[in-house]
Symmetry: C2
Subunit: 629 residues, 2 copies
């Protein structure tokens, strides 16, 4: 009977919470939409809620709350959900304010894709068998394998679950059956011939933030359904490091996180099958890509050591695992093909990016930048490929930014500042009143500050002839939207601290690019093409991104935003086993550079914190445009 | 609330039975020891019980009961458990009389075995890995595989469950680890080197009546524990045909029977591990042998069609199935090697027999007879091998025999009759008062009847100068033990019907032998050795068996009782992968003869029903001895 009832508004979801449980955990159980970057450890301050009833049944204000909440907020019953612990039996009502909600995220599902020749891992073989007789008593399985060998020339083994269906299938089809084989090596399913349907496969891209899945008809190569969801692991940390920390806290958490992502994928399977009007049993193949942490958690393999220097992965070659061993609910004889990774945090998603952009067979020196909380960069051409991973942090996803938010309804996505009047214009996602800034807006803001001279190349605010630039607790901040324009009733600002976050993030990315160029012995003029991949990349203004020095200074027409190429690469490999071999080969060919081990790392990083860079000669195009304005 | 309480005496077990459930089903739920040959279909009459209380809450006497029970039995509340249906809410007390209990069965575990060179499928490879560094960030798995490749020269794949343990194992052992590999193909387990223990394997022989399991130390080849149990499927039918019928009655019954046998094996694993002081996780390999029906049910594969002409098996080549797919609780990366079968009912146990006896490399013409409810015969030498299966029925196991019982405590096992006085001597298992006749006693009885002229070669009783030979309901029967000697208080008799059962059984076996000899173009004089395998074979008197014409008339010194060679062959294959290859090759080499398809079958069978045979010239040794007596 040690339970309290907690209701979360405005969703109105109610849950029984036990004594000593936090409001954050209670919300997690219900799937209540509540932001957190740190996974409930009291260090991000994002999970603010207002307790409307039952305050005396909760723990007292914690140190963390005193750090993140103002005195007036504490007086008006603001709490951090992860710090407020249920202590008494009561009816507690909690409001989750708009800023603390994640909202309907805009999920990027499209990506650059190159055509492939249809050559799926599974194929259909129809054979007619001689009925057994007293003079020919070969077993059902032996009879079937013999006929298949005769037809295909291949020696097949039989999946154990498929074996059990053989006697019914051969008789149900009056000895005419269709066998589904995998990689010409294994018989994974047998059906009476007349029941034979299309074969389907699924490509799954497990992102830190979202999971996207594509159901493909393997007979035509067409996409039958596209589905996606927020990664259900988000309540346990918004970035991979928070999730790994969560897993390291308790041995059972790995299994918990694994089950959460597998259940999510099973939901996506059901949703896609419903859309396409097929049965999950008709899905005979699956490709999974994801960054190293998501990849490991999907496999139920500990990501702990990937987060500790020297960052070794547990496994980086591709794997074929029975769907039933993973708990993925598709055809029960089917395999899941887990993409190979390169090394450390340069994961299977980067390999899929390489596949989708074709960088590995490019004639010209090409750079591929997949921007995310971890940014992976690949530089090279068909001769040589180098890669690295940059801990760029979640600033471009709106985290660690005072009014940062995801690219969801109400987020400001683009900003422009009049260089003379310093008047600000902006656009929001969904054309509603703004409630915060998403990554592309932050990049715009910094680029505009730089162009208008509001900030110096070192990043500090300097020009002051506008009331928008003010001091708050003695720290400068710039007002993008006044309280009367915003949906939250507060001014939406960019602080000096926010600019530092952007500096660190872009410096991390540029440093990676610079060290790869150095190792490749090329400079920015040699780079003929830059691919920017990832959800963030698709909304950011390329001029702004180049202005702040996020990537080398190439002509804007040579910068191509390619979207979710991880998903595209996965789809290509789903349709073609040839592409899987290429992926494996490319993963081995791409050399991994551990940035931290490069002697120039610290110098490069420091110089890259300048906008666009301390060595301005590296950004002649940007400098020319700045002078022009 | 539709439940009655049923208590079974003398065990005192109580269960809640639902309306319309039979007493037999209620007993099955409790695991009450109650005999049945037909699996509860009312056709064997073996499941007699006495209702001590609550008779009015049971269904009325059925037709089947009127057939099997005498009027006085019906009056004194005897019922067949499978016919008495719970109809009212009451407290029902049921006594299971001694004759209806299976009792503690004598299980034959030893068998002829040939020494093999130790060459198990699993082996231990210890390697030291270089610790990862910023300049060497290969994944844990890649690092391990590379070291193993260097040491063994083999390219290994990794079991999915083993993969998950790698990061902990390599660090737990400070980068010195022991890998367990399977068939030089797959890494199935990884441990810190210092935790490395002996490797164990288990050989399992699933008999229709008993399951025997042998835990072997794969480092020394020694048996660490021997365990056995009655096959827990027995309540669903004593012979394979009853069990197959039970499975055919309802689709769910296959899964039920499969789970029952797997649970039984898991119990044996636990018991053996406790005896040997090891953990089930230390068991890295398992060999399973059994007749075709047991083999199929173990795999969860329908045995339905094996029981219908032309009797095709679902699978007859050997299989390696992950223990976790089968639900067998041993090391979770381990495989179960299921032995190959020959064809039809000549199953994996016959292949194991061949392995243990070495018949496949014999210089001399040899016959191997594995006597059971189905009897398998192999005839040949290193040049050529033929096999067949004979539906000999369960008579030699005491079934279909009026006072027949298994070889359990209280069973008469040997009988001798004074040819002049017709006085009977007998010995019982456990030296207690007799309660019935086991197979060896029945064979003795018939042989003695024949020698003393009590029966004619056609099998009918003929001599009548003894009060032991009498008529009961107008049918002749011979009293072996008088009521005052028996533990049941009834006379123990051999009826004319019992002799007919023996005639059919021995004719079935001899016909198989005869047709194989014909196909091999040899006669009884060419056969230099007869191996008799199976539990029954070990207790039967060879003279008696030959006298009734159960097998060809070879000199008694050339008949060798080899015991449970199915178990021995399984142990040999557990210790040596070379033996597995031999088994596979032998299974393919042994030609299967479908007796029913031979034009001489009916004539041969009819002639073989005579004792010892209609063509007495085929039994010169027996005839000579008969004349001498």
């Amino acid at each position: 009977m040690q339970r309290s009832s907690v209701t979360f508004q405005p969703e109105g979801k109610r849950v029984e919470a036990t004594i000593d449980q936090t409001l954050f955990d209670a919300a997690g159980k219900l799937g209540v939409d509540i932001q957190s970057l740190c996974g409930g450890r009291g260090i991000c301050g994002k999970c603010r809620v207002i307790v409307r009833s039952g305050t005396h049944s909760l723990s007292h204000t914690s140190d963390a709350e005193e750090r993140f909440l103002s005195e007036s907020e504490i007086r008006t019953n603001f709490r951090l959900a992860c710090q407020a612990i249920v202590k008494g039996l009561d009816t507690i009502v909690v409001e989750v304010p708009r800023q603390s909600r994640i909202g309907q995220q805009r999920l990027l599902l499209k990506g650059l894709e190159r055509p492939v020749q249809l050559m799926p891992s599974v194929r259909r073989l129809s054979v007619s068998l001689k009925k057994p007789s007293l003079l020919d008593v070969e077993s059902d399985a032996g009879r079937l394998l013999r006929a298949l060998r005769k037809k295909s020339g291949k020696e097949l083994r039989i999946d154990y679950e498929a074996l059990k269906t053989i006697p019914h299938a051969v008789r149900g089809g009056n000895w005419a059956v269709t066998a589904i084989t995998w990689m010409d090596r294994e018989l994974i399913s047998v059906k009476p011939e007349k029941q034979s349907e299309n074969l389907y496969g699924m490509a799954v891209d497990i992102g830190t933030t979202k999971i996207a899945a594509y159901l493909l008809n393997l007979d035509t190569g067409e996409i039958s359904a596209t589905v996606s969801m927020m990664n259900p692991q988000i309540p346990y940390g918004e970035d991979v490091i928070s999730r790994i920390s969560y897993i390291m806290r308790d041995e059972k958490n790995l299994e918990k996180m694994n089950r959460i992502v597998i259940s999510g994928i099973n939901e996506l399977i059901d949703e896609a099958c419903k859309k396409a009007g097929i049965d999950p049993k008709d899905i005979y193949d699956m490709i999974v890509v994801g960054n190293t942490a998501m990849h490991h958690i999907f496999l139920g393999v500990s990501p702990k050591y990937v987060s500790l220097s020297p960052y070794p992965a547990v496994v980086q070659s591709s794997l074929d695992v029975k769907a039933r061993d993973l708990g993925v609910r598709m055809n029960c004889g089917a395999y899941v093909h887990v993409f190979p990774a390169i090394a450390g945090f340069v994961g299977a998603d980067a390999v899929a990016d390489a596949l989708a952009t074709g960088i590995y067979e490019s004639e010209e020196m090409t750079m591929l930048v997949d921007i995310g909380t971890n940014t992976e960069i690949i530089l090279g051409n068909k001769e040589k490929l180098l890669s690295c991973s940059c801990a760029s942090g979640p600033a471009f996803e709106g985290a660690h930014i005072k009014h940062g938010m995801r690219a969801a309804t109400g987020a400001i996505e683009h900003i422009w500042i009049d260089p003379r009047t310093i008047e600000v214009g902006y656009s929001t996602i969904g054309n509603v009143k703004p409630s915060g800034l998403c990554g592309s807006a932050i990049v715009d803001a910094v680029a505009q500050f730089l162009k208008t001279g509001m900030i110096a190349p070192e990043g500090n605010f300097q020009r002051s002839e506008t009331e928008r630039l003010r001091r708050n607790e003695n720290k400068p901040e710039f007002v993008i939207a006044w309280s009367d324009e915003s949906s939250t009733g507060d001014d939406i600002v960019v602080t000096q601290g926010d600019i530092r976050e952007v500096q660190l993030a872009k410096a991390a990315i540029y440093t990676g690019a610079a060290i790869l160029m150095k190792r490749m012995k090329v400079d920015f003029r040699d780079i003929k093409k830059v691919f920017i991949a990832g959800a963030f990349g698709n909304y950011v203004d390329p001029q702004s991104a180049r202005t702040i020095g996020m990537f080398p200074d190439v002509p804007i027409q040579n910068v191509q935003f390619v979207g979710n190429t991880a998903g595209s690469g996965a789809r290509m490999a789903l349709l073609s086993t040839q592409m899987r071999r290429v992926a494996e080969e490319v993963a081995r060919r791409i050399e991994y550079i551990e940035l931290g081990a490069d002697p120039d790392f610290h110098k490069e990083f420091l110089n890259a914190t300048y906008f666009p860079h301390k060595e301005t000669e590296r950004f002649p195009n940007v400098m020319r445009l700045m002078e022009k304005d």
